[in-house]
Symmetry: C2
Subunit: 388 residues, 2 copies
């Protein structure tokens, strides 16, 4: 029977203890803490160890018994003060859900929400995520995907958005870097503890993220970034950001799980298309085919997806204007009917254009006023473009 080495009534220590006892996204632990409070749930767990819960009848009881069996091995030697001391040495901050700086989007996760966030950098995640987009994608990115990611990140910080991502190689790294280069704010959500930046090759990048945003984890310092924790981490990215955009992802990329989590939370999801010949865009195309994601091609379209109605509407592309723009059907038909270089009389124009005499005369008037045709001795001819 374990006894705890620390004051289990302290709300901070108790919440911190749960972020170590339960794996991210453990909904049984979440429900227990929601019901009893972190300190109450911890006291209950310590208490339960002695009792034997053999084959309980109700599903909820069975889930709790399984939880006790899952969490108890970690009670041994548990001391959140050590982990808080490590965080303090890094200059970091612990955020609890009742903090006004807690990103409120996480509340949508319900009982799967984190118990605490371990933050290095600017701890006001509520402010950072108020206007934010998660840009995620494959580690195995192409130069196309990296180019587009950098453009999107720069365009988004220009529009006042924070760029959220996972700190990984490939698309994630370019997203953070693009936000930093654009002078904006960016948040990296780690799968392991914030005491050791992972992957090692992004150490300097993540250090710079702490200076212009934050590096965040829900697991305490010292936690290893296991595969399951990457998947669990993706739900935090999806819930923190206003919208999630996948730039490049192969069919089995983890970025797709972030997109599907965001869709489950009814957050807007975007996917950037790419060449169908590129495996690295296959996952994006699948999201588009499945109707999970909206097709987005530039920062304005992403801002429209993630931003406020009215403020962030993307302009419609207009393409090139031509002199024939805005002409009615009759005018276009008469213009088409005029030979390229010769003049034509009105009766011929009626026949060739398939229009009545009044229509042709009216159309010629409009075309003349636009400088597209001119009368020529009782007949009509085109005015050559550019000599207008």
């Amino acid at each position: 029977m374990t006894t705890l080495a620390f004051d289990a009534d302290d709300p901070t220590l108790a919440a911190t203890a749960w972020s170590r006892l339960a794996e991210p996204g453990d909904e049984t632990a979440g429900a227990l803490v929601a019901h009893l409070g972190a300190a109450g749930a911890l006291a209950w767990l310590v208490d339960q160890q002695g009792s034997v819960l053999l084959e309980p009848a109700a599903p909820a009881q069975r889930a709790l018994a399984a939880g006790v069996a899952r969490w108890s091995p970690r009670l041994d030697g548990l001391d959140p003060r050590r982990e808080l001391a490590v965080l303090e040495r890094t200059g970091g901050t612990l955020l609890l859900p009742d903090d006004h700086r807690w990103p409120r989007g996480l509340d949508d996760l319900g009982t799967a929400a984190p118990f605490a966030l371990w933050v290095r950098g600017d701890a006001d995640l509520a402010a950072a995520c108020h206007r934010s987009v998660a840009l995620v994608g494959a580690r195995a990115s192409t130069s196309y995907g990296e180019h587009v990611t950098a453009q999107l990140a720069a365009g988004l910080v220009d529009r006042g958005f924070t760029v959220v991502s996972g700190g990984a190689y490939g698309i994630d790294a370019v997203a953070h870097r693009g936000a930093l280069v654009g002078g904006g704010s960016t948040v990296a959500v780690m799968a392991g503890g914030v005491d050791r930046f992972y992957p090692q090759g992004n150490h300097e990048l993540l250090r710079r993220v702490t200076e212009n945003g934050a590096v965040v984890a829900e697991v305490p310092p010292g936690s290893t970034p296991f595969k399951q924790r990457f998947l669990a981490r993706n739900r935090v990215i999806a819930a923190m950001a206003r919208a999630t955009v996948v730039v490049e992802a192969a069919w089995r990329s983890g970025a797709l799980s972030t997109a599907r989590r965001a869709a489950d939370l009814l957050r807007p999801v975007g996917a950037v298309p790419g060449p169908v010949t590129s495996m690295a865009s296959g996952g994006c195309h699948q999201l588009l085919r499945d109707g999970v994601a909206t097709c987005v091609t530039d920062a304005a379209e992403v801002a429209e997806l993630a931003g406020e109605v009215g403020r962030d509407a993307a302009p419609r592309p207009v393409g090139l204007r031509s002199a024939a723009d805005g002409l009615g059907d009759a005018e276009r038909a008469v213009l088409d009917a005029l030979p390229a270089r010769a003049a034509a009389d009105v009766a011929v124009l009626c026949r060739v254009a398939g229009r009545s005499l009044p229509e042709v005369l009216g159309a010629l008037g409009v075309l003349e006023s636009r400088g597209l045709v001119r009368p020529d001795g009782g007949r009509w001819r085109r005015v050559a473009a550019g000599r207008g």
Copy 2:
């Protein structure tokens, strides 16, 4: 007052006359012919010329009066026998809507349906279009778009589809050529008369199309391919094919009008994504954003769009398989918890994986049976991949 030089009671000559008198898609003419028959409508028109329809009150009467004014200039010298003779010299066939070879999809156009089709090549368009896809796109295609079009066309003819397109340079030409190279059937719908292949540079290609499919127009031989006729022609492509796919199109490409016509007809519409950095894919992305088109990336997906439920379902992409596929959460957690090279005992695995003792023991059993772990003197270690 014009009198006709030919037998206006002959149904073929009368329908042919209307394909000359009215511009493609003239719904007033279509309604008149539907109501009175082609011969009756022609007799009525000849009759009407004498009467003066000044400012008629009802909208339908006004539309008819405007129609009479529009069609009458072309009565002068009208003789469909000349155009039929030209068609005969090319070895072509005239199809009327009551012909069993008429592509029934055109009926969905209602009063905007063609009065006749002038066909060079295999006149059984009903058979050709029974299983068909329109592949359309920009004249200003990129090598990416051409590559994808050729792949799609080849894959579609492999699956027994006819490829319908517009015979233009760029994507259209590659679509026809891809179908021919694949030994399949293809139909080119022209905006001008079938006596002169347009554009001139595709002459040899279109000649080959007549040998493995058909070149088709709704306007008689001698008709010039005016701009308005290209737009009208697009509705024929959209209505003839079971589905329409845009491979590459800029924002103002005519191919987008074909897609929108197909959507209006409730036909499936697909768009092939491309690099967002390519203007030539901008129109495709707009169709995806507007929800007009489904994202399609290969021939299997196009076949699913255009084909029959069950017969043509596209396989889901699977990606690469890994040894950890099909593992449950507990097994994955235990596998993650095992150090890369050292052995670990069960108590440590419980703590690190955050799982109960029965879960860890069960998971080790599954992992051992898959050859992923092995016991090692009371502890457990990973089996290195590849030495399994």
